[in-house]
Symmetry: C2
Subunit: 263 residues, 2 copies
């Protein structure tokens, strides 16, 4: 067991809150769960909750706040949803209308917060088990792709899955499948590997989000459901108002990774 | 929990013993572990035991008998190693010298029996989980291939792994990796998938043992360590005397499959 100290997670949130941290959170407060954030007015939130529950691989729900609350005890103490993320995206009518380091001034009594698991948890576990993660080794963002994999329509939302891709030699891919199976709240096991055309991806070197990474001739691309999926779905639905984290700039929680790990 | 009745396993052994069962054991006494059998003189057995322990994926040890014993309490009650397998192979100086339905007359006080887990256990689990197994659907023997994957030399034995191959669409392959991970005593997770040339296999349609099976364009071949490996190693080593089961004609034990299943 790695001992973890929640004060490290709180310190990261404090730095985001006071404006001294504006960059990505990868590698910060190691051992604590970081989450994708989606904030929606209650009018859309109830349907979105049903959509997440119908699509747990791209939208693994870790916590849902009460309407209007900027705190969330399930995620941590001394936590301010409107200030503790280093960078927010603000969407209006399905389009990105701006970025901000603090959304206190946009807060409303009807806003509901969704905290969704993110792949940082399983990437940490992969590396601890000696499985190298290419985009981290190459200091890039993970490559992400729109696919033809249909989502389960629910709550008025529908669309297709966005996936992240990590290449491995087969033996490491098998190990990665075993390890990520232990993280159902961080997208879990992959949804596909091998031929990208079978899930509607044309060119692995041209991701829809993130950066491309090297893929060697002895490697297979492995695809996981991605937390960008709900953002894409909300944009496609043209929701009137939404706040999310900016990609890579996650909310750091007090939840130890061990708490979201099976076995 | 499926309730299992050990009398079914004993009935299969009794039919093999009295000569009324001479065919393969697949599908008989469902829910009980069937094992690969290797019987060696003590002079080779001690080294072979070290070899198995060094190579647990192809040679998962379920039980090792005391020298000369034809019974094995770990495997079952009222069990006769020399008569309860429907068909035996007898090897002399590294070559198959004959087959028999009863090896009582060949028994010696120095013979040690090795019971090794077999893929029947995980194939049963795959089908119970809705993962179709091609060679079963096509009523063929599983295709098996010699590979370039080196074994750990130990006890005077060495060589390369023999693997079995089952094709799946990627999503089913991922599920198959998860399910077979639960069966470390039945070869466990695969050792490779995808490009067969990477493990020294030239032609998937020409297996070294067993039959070829259909592989569709949306499928990936997935390779598991195979219980034929120890037989191949013993033949390559030219051991003076050995008895094994005939492929597909396994020893049915009283061990419920649940007892060799993780989780």
């Amino acid at each position: 067991m790695i001992s973890v100290n929640p004060s490290e997670a709180r310190a990261v949130r404090q730095r985001a809150r006071d404006g001294s941290l504006t960059g990505p959170t990868a590698g910060l407060a190691t051992g604590f769960v970081q989450v994708n954030l989606v904030v929606l007015p209650e009018a859309q939130a109830n349907g979105f909750l049903r959509f997440c529950q119908a699509n747990p691989k791209p939208c693994p729900l870790i916590a849902v706040s009460e309407p209007g609350q900027r705190t969330c005890e399930l995620l941590g103490n001394d936590l301010d949803i409107a200030r503790d993320v280093p960078a927010y995206h603000v969407y209006r009518h399905g389009e990105l209308s701006g970025t901000a380091g603090d959304v206190s001034d946009l807060w409303r009594d009807d806003l509901v917060t969704f905290a969704l698991g993110c792949s940082f948890s399983f990437e940490h576990a992969l590396m601890q088990n000696g499985v190298a993660v290419r985009h981290i080794d190459e200091s890039r963002n993970v490559p992400m792709f729109k696919t033809s994999i249909p989502l389960q329509a629910a709550g008025g939302f529908s669309g297709h899955m966005v996936v992240s891709m990590r290449p491995f030699p087969a033996a490491q891919a098998i190990r990665a499948i075993q390890i990520t199976t232990r993280f159902p709240l961080a997208h879990g096991a992959p949804v596909h590997f091998g031929d990208p055309a079978l899930i509607g991806i044309r060119d692995l070197m041209n991701p829809d989000y993130g950066d491309s990474v090297s893929i060697y001739s002895n490697e297979t691309p492995v695809f996981w459901a991605c937390g960008v999926t709900p953002q894409q779905v909300l944009m496609d639905a043209g929701v009137p108002f939404a706040i999310t984290h900016s990609p890579g700039h996650m909310l750091v929680t007090d939840i130890p990774e061990s708490q979201v790990t099976l076995l």
